[in-house]
Every structure is written in structure tokens, then in C-alpha cells.
Amino acid sequence: MKLIVENLLCQRGGVPVLEGVSFTLGPGEALVLRGPNGSGKTTLLRTIAGLQPAAGGRIELAEDAVAYGAHADGLKATLSVAENLAFWAAIYGTDDVDTALDTYALRGLAGRPAQNLSAGQKRRLGLARLLVTGRPIWVLDEPTVSLDADSVAMFGRAVGAHLAGGGSALIATHIDLGLDARVLDVSEFAATGKMAADGFDEAFA
């Protein structure tokens, strides 16, 4: 399950943000995105996840391959940990809720409503959701926010297992996850306006 990105042009609010972005992500590989805030990491990830149309260039990606994880974990406050995971498992048609609970040591919290969890526990539940999607390509935006040291290690191990299992991961983060991952500095692709997007501005300039 490969992800190929060629000469991608990403836009935010009609203004080009990144241009000429190219990389490939094969099975078992991880790619970490670095770059200052607002340099377009989130826009790039949302474009690859399909939430935003690419303004130019090409993304070659199998259908239903991406599991997207963003700042907001998508948890329902009044549902318990187990119910949240069971819901997403049903949506994705998988049933390995138990492995997800064990990987992130949430077994003890299974019955507790999500609103009574700490920020770290909520984030672990959000990451546990990825295990339930059964999707090979993880596209994650700052996954380790509000995680303490050993939770980060727990996440690192989970990503390692995912890679070993033939999956791949594209992660925007500043923390070293202890993975042998290639690094891509997003600021190298900052848009300079050379590439003509089909936006309004260029047609007028």
C-alpha cells in the first residue's frame, strides 16, 4: 500500500501555502514532517487525507487506505471509552477493540465516560482509535500533544508495531519518537507564488 505525492500544491483559504511537495511512503516506512507553526503541515496532511482538494500536482493513494488523526480526537463526551471504540470499530467494520484497549492501557477506564478522562487519557483513546480503523496508512497531526513521557513511549511502540506489520505513517511532530524515520522539512516547500494555482488571484494578476 504505497503513497506517492508528486509536485503537490496545497492551498488554504484560496492562498497557495505549499508547492512542489514530492515524496513516497512505502509499506513499513515512517516519514516525520517538521516545520514551524503555520508552515502548512496541517494543510498538507488534510490534503493527503482527502479533506481538502489539492490545488495542483498529484497524490497516488489507494482508496480507503488513510486513517487520519488530528488535534480533535473525535470522542463523544457522554459515551464511555469502550463505546467510543466500539462505535469506530463498527464504522470501519473491524472488531479489535480489545487489542486497542490493551495497547494504550485503557482496559481499566473502559467503562468511564470520555468526559471524565484527563487530556492525556483522551489523547490515548484517540490514538487507540487508529488501531481500530484497520487502515494501513496513518496520517497524524501532532499525535503526542498532552501525552506524558511513558505514554509517548507507548505510542512509539504502537507505531513501531504498525510499521512492522507492513503499515506506514506520516506524522507531523516535534518530538523524537525513537523511530528510524526519514524527516521532511515542510518549510522548504513554502509557496512563492510561482506555480499558477487556478485560484482567482493568478487569473487576475
Binding site: 483559504g13 484560496g14 492562498v15 507564488g193 485560484g199 482567482f200 488571484d201 487569473a203 487576475f204
Partner: protein, 242 residues
């Protein structure tokens, strides 16, 4: 060069620049002539008396109110199919004119009907459907105001315009059905063509064409303004990005 080239913003600004004054002058002349002709030089109607003179503003504005929405529908379709910025900006420009024309049609229609119905407002099917059209215009304009990103605004308003058009037609028939239900003897039918003797007819055509040209002139000016505003928004966004 396909016709879409003409709608490229820069070319559009070019060829419309020369056209606007032409339309403005023509519209002013025609409306001036039509109204003075209709107001001063036509006899009173034996039944409606002098109120028949209101026909010269009610009919043209009512026609323009509907034409404006149809134009917005076409422009929205063009935006959705071909992503042409100028057409959706023209739709927004036309909405402003359309809502004013609907308001004029409503007010003049109510005033004209007053002697017949004895009240300022009667739920005549035609007037009621203009009232509903007016609400659709308000929703459309409010949606444009509520969204900052121009592309999102263009997409959402176009979808609303498409759906709104279907419901506007639906409401038109629902109102007809509903009014028959309430008072069997609805007002005497103010069908324009039916009781308009030819002496009233010529000035009416003149004012109609005048209103049409006024509509085109105003939409051209407002579209040019929208294009400039959109260009300004892009420049400011670029400045903010540093």
C-alpha cells in the same frame, strides 16, 4: 478562443469597462421616457382609475425580480460546473438588485391592489410568492455575509441557490393551491396581459426594456466591484501570509 476566455476576470474588466456607461445612459433614457409617457400621457382606466399608472413600475420590477433569480441560478450552475469566479460574483451582484426589485414589486403590488381589496395587503397568490422570493433573497445574501472564505461562500451560496430555486417553484404552486383553499373568490385577477388596452401597452414595453437595461447596468457595476473586492481580499491574504 472559447467564450470562457471572455469571463476571465481581467478580460471581463476590460470589455465591461466600455459597456457600463452605454447601459447606464440607455437605461436612464428609456426609463425616463417610459415613466413620463405612462404617467402623464395615458388616460385613466375606467375601472381602476389612475392606479393603472402603477403598472409602469409594478410589472417591470416584478419581471426583473424573477429574471434576477433565474440569472443567479444560471450563474451558480456555471460556478459549480466550471468554477468560474466571475459568474458566481455576478450572481452575488444580481442578488442585490433582485432583492430591491422584489421589494419594489411587493410595495407597488400592495398599493395597486389596495383600492380593489380595501386593505394594504391581501394574500393574493402572486404577491405571496413574491414575498417568499424575497425571503429566499434574504437567505442568499445573509449566507454570503456569514462566510469569510470567498471560495467556500461561492460554493455554499450556489448550492443554496439551486435548492432554493426548486423550492421557489414549489412554493409558487403551493401558494396557488393554498389561496384557493382559503378564500374561494380570490381577488379579481390582475393578469396584466388580459385587461391592458394597447394605449397603455407601448409605454409599458419602454419601461420594461428600461428596467432590463438598468438591471444589466447595475449588475455589471456590482460585478466589477465584487471582482475588485475579491482581488483585494487575495492581496490582503497574501500580505498577511508575509
Amino acid at each position: 478562443m472559447s467564450i470562457w476566455e471572455y469571463a476571465n476576470p481581467r478580460k471581463f474588466m476590460g470589455w465591461t469597462g466600455r459597456l457600463v456607461p452605454v447601459f447606464v445612459v440607455l437605461a436612464a433614457v428609456l426609463i425616463g421616457v417610459g415613466l413620463t409617457w405612462g404617467f402623464f400621457f395615458t388616460p385613466d382606466d375606467y375601472r381602476m382609475g389612475a392606479t393603472v399608472k402603477i403598472i409602469y413600475i409594478h410589472v417591470p420590477s416584478a419581471m426583473m425580480a424573477i429574471n434576477a433569480w433565474v440569472m443567479m441560478l444560471v450563474a451558480s450552475l456555471i460556478w459549480i460546473v466550471r468554477r468560474h469566479h466571475v459568474s458566481v460574483l455576478a450572481a452575488r451582484a444580481a442578488a442585490g438588485v433582485g432583492v430591491t426589485m422584489t421589494l419594489i414589486a411587493l410595495i407597488t403590488g400592495a398599493i395597486w391592489g389596495q383600492p380593489m381589496w380595501g386593505t394594504w395587503w391581501a394574500w393574493d397568490p402572486r404577491l405571496t410568492s413574491f414575498l417568499i422570493l424575497f425571503l429566499f433573497y434574504l437567505g442568499y445574501l445573509a449566507l454570503w455575509q456569514a462566510i469569510d472564505d470567498p471560495d467556500t461562500a461561492a460554493d455554499l451560496t450556489s448550492v443554496l441557490c439551486l435548492v432554493g430555486s426548486v423550492f421557489a417553484v414549489l412554493s409558487r404552486y403551493a401558494v396557488n393551491f393554498w389561496n384557493q383553499g382559503l378564500h374561494q373568490g380570490a381577488s379579481l385577477s390582475l393578469d396584466k396581459e388580459e385587461n391592458v388596452a394597447d394605449v397603455f401597452w407601448q409605454p409599458l414595453v419602454v419601461t420594461m426594456v428600461g428596467f432590463g437595461l438598468l438591471f444589466v447596468a447595475l449588475v455589471l457595476i456590482r460585478t466589477r466591484t465584487e471582482i475588485r473586492a475579491r482581488r483585494l481580499h487575495a492581496l490582503e491574504a497574501r500580505e498577511r501570509m508575509g
